[in-house]
């Protein structure tokens, strides 16, 4: 056969450089959790990719850069595993084995125990909680393993040009990155989205989330607690090393008061809300408040552009689905890109992008609406509504098939699943 003896046969293609300018199949704006996961998924499957981030890795991996935590649902773990990232973070991730959802201090609560459901033939955690900082470090470790991924950080994108035949991103230092597709993973104030003139719908809640991480003397046993309080949900999420992550949604007008409390009084409030099962509590991080608002892009695609993560959607964190939604974007977009790339088709072509948008937008709008409904259902004290939700919770507990469906939903394994979520290679 006409093997032409090309020595580069079957080595993964890499982005190419030409006098400082770069060329790849895909260029990603934003190297946050969604953006770098996207880059790792593509490079793992042999698609040359450049990821541009304005912050340097050193700064991002620093303890004080981001004190937030991330909930990784079972489905998201599968995506990270497929992208080769999970192995770098599994030791830092606290498994969620048991979810208890209660309406204020009502005796009725929904209890999801991971041993009630078998997935892939075994009992698996619903998800894992870890520090954003540890996930960033895992992503950087993966980047170092992938020659087909060029991580430009710190670097600033100043202009994006897209047309029928290709796209390019101009950097502040004058260099240009050329590609077939631009992925906007550059957050709520996405330059990629705004540059394409894609409008967003926004609405905000009269709530902010007070967040911090605590140390506790008693083991958390992998129990996650979510109490629906009149002013917003209060969540305690199990982490490693006898720590829990606190997500305390509160009326905006009261937030500053709680932030300003002396540590001992703040801990007193936490203990009262969490129910005392954790023993002695101390603060492991500072306290921060994040306003809760929702954003949904009208379209997730434009010519040679796809939006993922918070550039496309930011939802209420009530169900802990923010990054999980972003990682579902990653799984779906990586699949349509890799399918096209393997056939030598244009990865930024309209058919490829339309497939991504059909797949993702319905799911996203639905979840945003459900979370919005939950917030309004639970954040009030009107007696008939309270009775209805208590009855609803009691019913869920008594109907095993309904309960198993909700449990699978919490794990993210419901619907038309991308290959990565099903645990198959891309």
């Amino acid at each position: 056969m006409a093997e032409s003896g090309n020595p580069t046969a079957n080595t993964p293609p890499s982005p190419t450089a030409d006098g400082g300018d770069l060329a790849a199949e895909v260029v990603i704006l934003g190297g946050g959790l969604a953006g770098l996961s996207m880059a790792a998924a593509l490079a793992t499957a042999g698609v040359p990719v450049v990821c541009i981030d304005q912050d340097s890795p050193d700064r991002q991996a620093d303890d004080g850069f981001d004190i937030r935590t991330t909930a990784i649902a079972y489905a998201s773990m599968k995506v990270l595993e497929g992208a080769g990232v999970w192995k770098h973070m599994v030791d830092k991730a606290g498994p969620m084995l048991d979810i208890r959802i209660a309406d204020q201090f009502s005796p009725l609560f929904v209890h999801y125990d991971h041993t009630e459901l078998a997935v892939d033939g075994q009992h698996r955690p619903f998800g894992w909680i870890l520090d954003n900082k540890d996930m960033r470090r895992a992503l950087f470790a993966r980047v170092a393993e992938l020659p087909g991924l060029i991580h430009l950080a710190p670097a600033k994108a100043t202009a994006i040009t897209r047309n029928r035949s290709g796209a390019s991103v101009k950097l502040a230092d004058g260099r240009v990155v050329r590609a077939k597709l631009v992925i906007g993973a550059d957050g709520r104030k996405s330059l990629a989205r705004e540059g394409a003139g894609i409008k967003v719908r926004r609405w905000s809640y009269d709530q902010s989330a007070i967040i911090c991480t605590i140390h506790h003397s008693e083991p958390n046993k992998g129990i996650a607690v979510e109490h629906f309080m009149p002013n917003g949900p209060f969540a305690v999420l199990p982490m490693t090393e006898n720590r829990c992550s606190i997500i305390w949604s509160e009326k905006r007008s009261l937030v500053q008061t709680y932030l300003d409390l002396p540590d001992d009084q703040f801990i007193e409030e936490l203990s009262r809300r969490s129910g005392g099962y954790l023993g002695e509590i101390t603060l492991a991080t500072r306290r921060e408040a994040w306003p809760l608002s929702v954003l949904l892009a009208e379209r997730f695609i434009a010519e040679r552009l796809a939006l993922i993560g918070e550039a496309a959607h930011a939802i209420h964190p009530i169900a802990g689905q923010g990054l999980n939604l972003g990682l579902r974007d990653v799984a779906a977009l990586a699949e349509v890109i890799v399918d096209a790339h393997r056939l030598g088709l244009d990865v930024g072509g309209p058919e490829v992008l339309a497939r991504f948008q059909r797949w993702r937008r319905f799911d996203t709008v639905l979840l945003a609406a459900v979370c919005d409904g939950l917030v309004h259902l639970f954040s009030n004290n009107i007696p008939p509504i309270r009775l209805a939700r208590d009855l609803g919770m009691g019913l869920v507990n008594r109907l095993p098939p309904v309960k198993r469906f909700f449990m699978k939903h919490a794990m993210g394994i419901v619907g038309d699943l991308p290959r990565m979520i099903r645990g198959q290679p891309l």
Binding site: M1, S4, L343, G349
Partner: protein
């Protein structure tokens, strides 16, 4: 001249290539480039007049890639699965098959009798950065020149040729030892008349009227006999069916009533 950038042959063509008409000679008129660029945009618009071909393309690319990889012992999921293989795309049109095969690693010669198609395809390859050797010639001339290929593609073209026997002979001659010939065409059945002529040309207006002459369609038995007459064996045939509700083409081994394709190799 930018229009020449993507047309450099990856393998040197033999000195005697009758009819080979390389585009990209240094005298290309800029007005020509603009004109062919506009035509290329039509060919490559997935929502435009070649929409059916774009809808069909992933399916037939997958079919051909997987069969070639299976036959020649390659991994279809590798980064450049067809690396180093010589492929000729007969009746390449705007290059909808040639470019993807080039990106899958093959050295591709795109052949079309129409000079306009060749210029269009070459212009697009230059724009997209694909490397394809486009030539305005025929399968017969190319075969006569002595060039040989690992993969010969004759997709949706045999129903347009004047002499089926001569065409199949040329395709057979173009095969290198161990090479594979892919053929796709339309069956001559009442259903294909209803769908390909009445449906596609008159009702849906997918194709200009007169694109196809139903009498020139080949039954699978006729295609099999034609390749056998030139020492080839039809190793696989499958139907390709269109579902108007999902707007998707699918392989269907049991329905060869309208579109079908398959591959043959030397006995």
């Amino acid at each position: 001249m930018t229009a020449t950038a993507g047309t450099t042959p990856t393998t040197p063509a033999p000195a005697s290539t009758p009819g080979a008409n390389k585009v990209g000679a240094s005298t290309v008129d800029p007005a020509d480039v603009a004109r062919f660029s506009a035509i290329a945009a039509e060919w490559w618009d997935p929502t435009g007049k070649f929409r059916p071909l774009h809808r069909l393309n992933p399916l037939r690319l997958t079919y051909i890639r997987d069969a070639v990889c299976q036959r020649l012992g390659r991994d279809p999921l590798a980064p450049s699965p067809l690396n180093g293989l010589r492929v000729v795309d007969i009746g390449c049109g705007g290059g909808l098959l040639s470019e993807p095969f080039a990106r899958m690693g093959a050295s591709v010669v795109g052949v079309d009798a129409s000079e306009k198609n060749i210029k269009t395809a070459a212009t697009h390859a230059a724009e997209s950065g694909a490397t394809v050797d486009y030539r305005a010639t025929t399968a017969e001339s190319l075969a006569a020149s002595g060039e040989r290929f690992d993969v010969v593609l004759a997709m949706e073209v045999i129903e347009h040729v004047a002499d089926v026997n001569l065409f199949v002979q040329s395709c057979a001659d173009l095969l290198a030892p161990g090479g594979v010939l892919f053929l796709a065409t339309l069956n001559r059945t009442p259903k294909s008349f209803a769908m390909a002529i009445v449906g596609a040309e008159y009702v849906l207006r997918w194709l200009p009227r007169g694109t196809h002459n139903w009498r020139q369609f080949l039954r699978p038995s006729e295609l099999t006999a034609a390749v056998r007459a030139h020492g080839l064996n039809m190793r696989h045939l499958t139907g390709v069916t269109y579902n108007p509700l999902t707007d998707e083409f699918k392989l269907n081994a049991r329905d060869l009533g309208v579109n079908y394709m398959g591959w043959a190799e030397r006995v």
